[in-house]
Amino acid sequence: MDPILFQWDGSPVAAEPGDTVASALYRSGVRTFTYSYQYGRPRGLLCLNGNCPNCMVNVDGVPNVRSCTTPARSGLKVLSQNQNVYRGFDSPAVKRFLPAPALAESEHHYEHAYLQFEVVVVGGGQRGLEAALAAVSPDGQVALLEKEPALGGFLPNAVTQKLVAEVQAHPGITVFVNSSCFGLYEGNLLGVVRIDYAQPHGETLLHLRAGTIVVATGAYETQFLFANNDLPGIMLSTAVLRLLHQHAIVPGKRSVLIGEPDRCVAMQSHLTAAGIEVVASLPVTSVVSASGEGHVSAVVTETVTYEADLVVMCGPLVPDVGLLAQTRSPLRWSPENGAFLAERMATSVSLVGAAAGESVHNQTYLLPPSAQSTDAIACLCMDVSGHDVADTIDAGMGHIELIKRFTKLGKSACQGRMCQMATVHLCAQISGQTIAQVGTTVARPPTPPVTLGVLAGMRHHPVRRTPMHDQHDQLGAVWMDMGEWKRPRYYDPAGTRQQDVCVEQEYRAVRERAGIIDVSTLGKIEVKGSDAGRLLDLVFTHRFSTLPLGRVRYSVLCDELGIIVDDGTISRMDEQRYFLTTTTGNVDFVQQWLEWWAAAGGMAVTITNLTAGLASMNLAGPLARSVLAQLTECDLSSAAFPYMEWRQSSVAGVAATMMRIGFVGETGWEIVVGAEYGSHLWQQVLHAGASVNLRPFGVETQRVLRLEKKHIIVGVDTDALSNPFETGMTWVANLDKADFIGRVALARIKQNPSERTLVGFELEGAAVPPDGSPIVFAGKPVGYATSVRFSWEKQKVIGMAWVTPAEAMPGTQITLRSDAVDYPAHVVEEVFYDPAGQRLKL
């Protein structure tokens, strides 16, 4: 079998099968695994169970990985952390160590999975295995979660091995190993992270929906508090047992045991059997300090100093009730168990085994005098000492939640596992409260910590594409995002990367010849039924029940406050059928709005979102008719097909609806076909348009063209408070329609002078400040510019802006400001291009 070789700070380390990175490093002689975060104190293995921060290393670029739970594999690049804290940021010695790789795009593989089980058992130790077997039934599936790589619990034995075999053979039980349950959420939803060590770091976030949950998470050992309790070489008894029995590593020659007599006696036999001398067994109250340079070399009591290279803490066992605590199940201090136990639980959640306090009998947790020294480290993660805790209580912050927030104790990687017992007892001792009165801090998921990567999962964001997407690519589209939609900003087939040049060419094509733009992203809604007209009368500012067949009307949709929510065109297709357009990205809102008001009014109407099902393109320009005429028999003359009407006919062999509308101010038609024909139609239009040098044009060009006509874009030129009056929509002034949404508010708004108004402007200079630039008048901000572009028609920079009535008079000098630069301008009333609107109606 090939040897397992990995790197530690650039040097090779050999590992045995079954080694974790920590055990392999320890076996190779590493004793200092990291330095503490604040004071740079050397730290060594302590718990070997994923419950403390001492073994954290950087593995293949991932920081803060617990090496004690990471299987050793060939090829890993492991780096130590916090060298700079220990040695000083400027220390030349720091440069000896390899710098941690910068956080970068991860190659790691993150996935999600959503599963449902009748019963989920959390914990694959003896009690968990028994619970899983007891839960199987013909009606349901059982899941068994285990955070270690194998079932059986801590140091499996013959009994557990038999149970493991039974569980693995059972078809009704699905086993998840390397799966750590970090949270229990409403509706019995469990969050679980499963790590796949087979590939370069893969993590799966399992969302498990459970009928009932059995928590069999056991109990974990925690540390004592005395001066220099954090020296390398001072370990929990369970950690020593793992080193001895799981990894066949002997962690020292001379040892001192600290703890209750029963525990020490039981531990002693393991040590002596391994050839480790036990020089003393002490109650923690007699410990003054541990001492040593970078590693423990002695334990000091008041009378004797014991030399030892291994100190074994037989610490108290803490029932792992984290998941229950997350459900706000109250935790009760049980003096009989010497532990906090979960009390009331939901009927669908039960607690078994050591997690429920079974066989947990900690005697009174004692604190030696040195527990309040500056070297007695209560919180290993944040370097919070017993002295810090005492100071905090002295300052009046004696509540456990205040101690946590003021000192940061318990807020980091171990999430209180190593510090809670000591801190609660220290707090009780100093403040004179009982343990029950001190209580615990609130537990919140995730515990243990999870990576952001696994929460995000597969980084595959939705992208919305029109039916002509590929054609735009082939034409050299430079893409922009509009929400989830991709739209061509402009086309650059030669790859010049000169936006202004490309946009000008597209602009000239539309103004002088013909252009075509893909507008499939705009929302398209069909409203049909006997109440269709009534519904539209209710939600729009115009009347639609009387709109003649064949006509198209532009209108605005307001909310109850009279604020513009959307605009679009409405076409009467039939006696009881209308076709609506909305702004890109707003169709879902408009559909919901229509459905709500239809339901509120008990209306007989069907509302269907056809956005994705239709391809629409706008062919515009003085020569647009000559292009379209090549593709259809329909009479396109203004006499037969006036502005603001629609016709249906075959275009390029496909059934199409043509709407004669004009956002860009030229004669033009919006051609709508089934999405499956969009690509075909687009290509036919380009082909037919070759004779007049027709150009496809993008969103940026359209922005310039429509700005020259002062056509607003809802959401760009209007904001969350704009009403139609201040936006210049004079037709609303009559309000002579029957009741519609916003009518009451608009009537009131009409009576009061507008606080602001949307005006056009021209800049004196040639530089183009960005959209959104504030407007300054007499040294004060009075509004902002919504759209600013260079106009080839006026050969000036033009735009629209919100100003107060005082600046709204034509000719008023105003100033745009951007990046501390002033752009003088003046207000212009007239539409910049073709004010009479003749070009639309050729």
Binding site: M458, P467, G674, S679
Partner: protein, 200 residues
């Protein structure tokens, strides 16, 4: 010139170097590699196929009286909302409550023994055998977009028709292939699809 109907997944087929032919008036992949090996892979594990050509009707309200004959199928999504799918167009009486949504939705057939496992990586919907019977239809979210999932088994093996609005079809196709990668998921063409459905 005869207008070509193109699926929203056209680009995916081109990139996968599919052999395109006309089926039911649509440009669709006949195969990507060999129909027989594509079919074998589906039966062994899982594959995806473009079924956008399906004629689709949206029914609202008490149009439940509508009867359909094979090969058309009726899918009841809620008591007041149903879908009809059919390989060929079917006649229907135009009314306020019936809408032809053939163009609106793309349809992807996810088929094979591992299809559930693929779905379970992309949606919270419970697609277990006992939670979603053959013939059931559900509206849900899949890969962060709205989807209608219809369980359509063939020859005893699980299959799901996944309907999405056309604009996100390519996104869903890619998400299915990504999620299915660990099961060897591959696209399969119309020839294999018709064999799968027993209509070849």
């Amino acid at each position: 010139m005869e207008a070509q109907r193109q699926s929203a997944l056209h680009r995916c087929h081109l990139e996968a170097q599919a052999q395109l032919q006309t089926f039911f008036g649509w440009q669709l992949p006949a195969w990507y590699t060999y129909p027989s090996s594509e079919l074998e892979a589906v039966r062994a594990s899982v594959g995806i196929s473009d079924a956008s050509y399906l004629f689709k009707l949206d029914l609202r309200g008490e149009a439940g009286a509508l009867q359909v004959a094979a090969p058309a199928r009726l899918w009841q999504l809620t008591p007041a909302h149903a879908l009809i799918t059919s390989p060929l167009p079917i006649g229907f009486a135009a009314s306020a409550s019936v809408t032809n949504v053939t163009s609106v939705f793309s349809a992807i057939l996810l088929a094979g023994p591992k299809s559930r496992e693929v779905l379970q990586k992309l949606t919270t919907l419970n697609v277990r055998e006992d939670a979603m019977a053959e013939g059931a239809g559900r509206q849900t979210r899949l890969a962060h977009v709205n989807a209608t999932i219809l369980r359509s088994d063939c020859a005893g093996l699980p299959g799901f028709l996944i309907l999405n609005t056309r604009d996100v079809a390519q996104h869903v196709w890619e998400a299915l292939l990504h999620a299915g990668r660990e099961f060897g998921a591959r696209p399969f063409g119309m020839v294999a699809q018709q064999h799968w459905m027993g209509t070849a």
